[in-house]
């Protein structure tokens, strides 16, 4: 048993989740592979979206995987960091927009 919660080498074991529940695991990976295939959005575009989402959900495995994937899809460092800023802006904005709720409540409670 690892003494830390995250081990980079565990990413390669991701497929092992099917060992405990094959049907759902297989369905997930089939779905996953379909999601990332070239379609209305290119696989390249999807890799950058995945990089941004990986930061939003703060998944270290996903950040490792989609940093490498983004480099292999030809994105520059600047483009990758801008994608992270998009995630950051949405996360920050998601908090800040609730400030309106706070203001509404202040209005309601105030004389």
């Amino acid at each position: 048993m690892e003494k830390t919660y995250y081990n980079p080498k565990d990413l390669k074991k991701f497929g092992n989740v099917s060992d405990f529940q094959k049907e759902l695991g297989d369905k997930f990976f089939d779905y996953y592979n379909t999601v990332f295939a070239d379609s209305a959005l290119s696989a390249k575009e999807k890799s950058l979206i995945a990089l941004a989402v990986a930061h939003a959900v703060q998944c270290p495995y996903c950040i490792d995987a989609y940093t490498e994937e983004s480099l292999e899809k030809g994105f520059s460092e600047e483009q990758m960091m801008e994608a992270v800023h998009v995630a950051t802006a949405i996360r920050g904005g998601a908090s800040l927009v609730h400030g309106v709720q706070m203001m509404n409540k202040v209005d309601k409670l105030s004389m």
């Binding site: 390249k44 490498e68 480099l71 899809k73 030809g74 520059s76 460092e77």
Partner: protein, 347 residues
């Protein structure tokens, strides 16, 4: 930065390099062997399809010392092909089966017999490719070379590891990007990349431990960025995978990326790419006239073997056409993903 050999670095020894990519640790030892992967697709022993490209490494001297260089080239390398050896090359390549003469180095322009040799090959009607680092053409001694090469219809294939300054300068040294842009503009001015007889191709290689992007897609990005940012045009972009030898191997070891990189190359083995590896239609000639299956084998001193001639003085096209190609674990670099060759992806 000094070359590995000038540093007396252990990795300047080809035997040490081969030992590392075969036996570095238990994980590396457990990886599939290249011969085995070829055997599974009935390609072992690997045989040529016929020598069409005569690639001459005219010397390891270079004005640059790039971090990934598989040649370990640099200003401190003194190995240069002599005129006598170049004359032997002229005799050998004077055959209709050989259509292309590919000049590489180091900086091939730094060979003192470069102009004479290009003239002689040109007279034979062969297509000539010069692999240029671009920055050498920004020096007074060589600034007239672009026109010299244009006058002889020489194809220029040059290194530009990325369209951004940051990544290019990281790999090739501070100031490389700006000099490269300056020289590309000069090449465009004399017709390179515009005139159909003056081919100007760029070479991308990853600045790190990852595989190249899709060649076609990246070419679109390069064309858009170089045109929008600098007004530069070119013909083709070639994506080339870094092979785990020499300075790049040193990087993999120092950054603790060797195992994962080797594993990635092997899991990305593409039988289609294996069919089209460049050693099947290329012969590589070292600065001292020794024959190799490719420039990477040259750097590992894995000369042509299995009874075929191994020196230009013993040139025998028929026997070399039927040789067995020498392979080892580094060859996985040419068969990963879309494949890799001096002309870019192979699938």
């Amino acid at each position: 930065m000094k070359s590995l050999i000038a540093q007396s670095h252990s990795l300047s020894d080809p035997d040490v390099q081969l030992d590392i990519i075969n036996n570095h640790n238990e994980k590396i030892k457990s990886l599939a062997r290249f011969e085995q992967k070829l055997d599974e697709i009935d390609l072992f022993p690997l045989k040529p399809t016929g020598i069409e490209i005569f690639q001459i490494n005219v010397g390891y001297m270079c004005n640059m010392t790039c971090k990934h260089c598989h040649v370990d080239a640099g200003p401190d390398r003194k190995e240069i092909m002599t005129r006598e050896t170049l004359e032997l090359c002229l005799d050998a390549l004077n055959h209709e089966q050989i259509t292309t003469v590919d000049l590489t180095g180091g900086a091939p322009e730094m060979n003192p017999h470069f102009r004479w040799f290009v003239d002689e090959v040109s007279k034979l009607g062969k297509h000539i490719i010069v692999r240029s680092n671009l920055t050498i053409l920004d020096t007074r001694k060589f600034e007239d070379l672009p026109q010299f090469m244009a006058d002889r219809g020489v194809e220029i294939t040059c290194s530009l590891p990325f369209y951004s300054k940051r990544r290019t300068d990281t790999q090739r040294g501070e100031g490389t990007y700006d000099k490269s842009m300056k020289v590309l503009k000069i090449l465009n001015e004399i017709g390179y990349g515009k005139d159909e007889n003056l081919q100007l191709n760029l070479v991308y290689n990853p600045v790190g431990a990852f595989l190249p992007p899709d060649q076609e897609s990246l070419q679109e990005d390069y064309k858009e960025r170089l045109w929008n940012d600098h007004g530069i045009v070119f013909n083709e972009l070639y994506t080339i995978t870094n092979l785990p030898i020499s300075r790049y191997l040193n990087f993999l070891l120092m950054s603790d990326n060797l195992e994962e990189y080797m594993e990635k190359l092997i899991t990305s083995f593409n039988p289609g790419a294996a069919q089209g590896v460049m050693c099947r239609n290329t012969i590589s000639i070292g600065w001292d006239g020794t024959l190799y299956d490719c420039d990477f084998n040259q750097m590992l001193k894995m000369q042509t073997n299995h009874g075929s001639p191994d020196h230009i003085k013993d040139w025998d096209l028929e026997r070399l056409n039927n040789r067995e190609i020498m392979v080892n674990q580094h060859c996985f670099g040419c068969t990963a993903g879309a494949g890799s060759s001096c002309g870019g992806a192979v699938t």
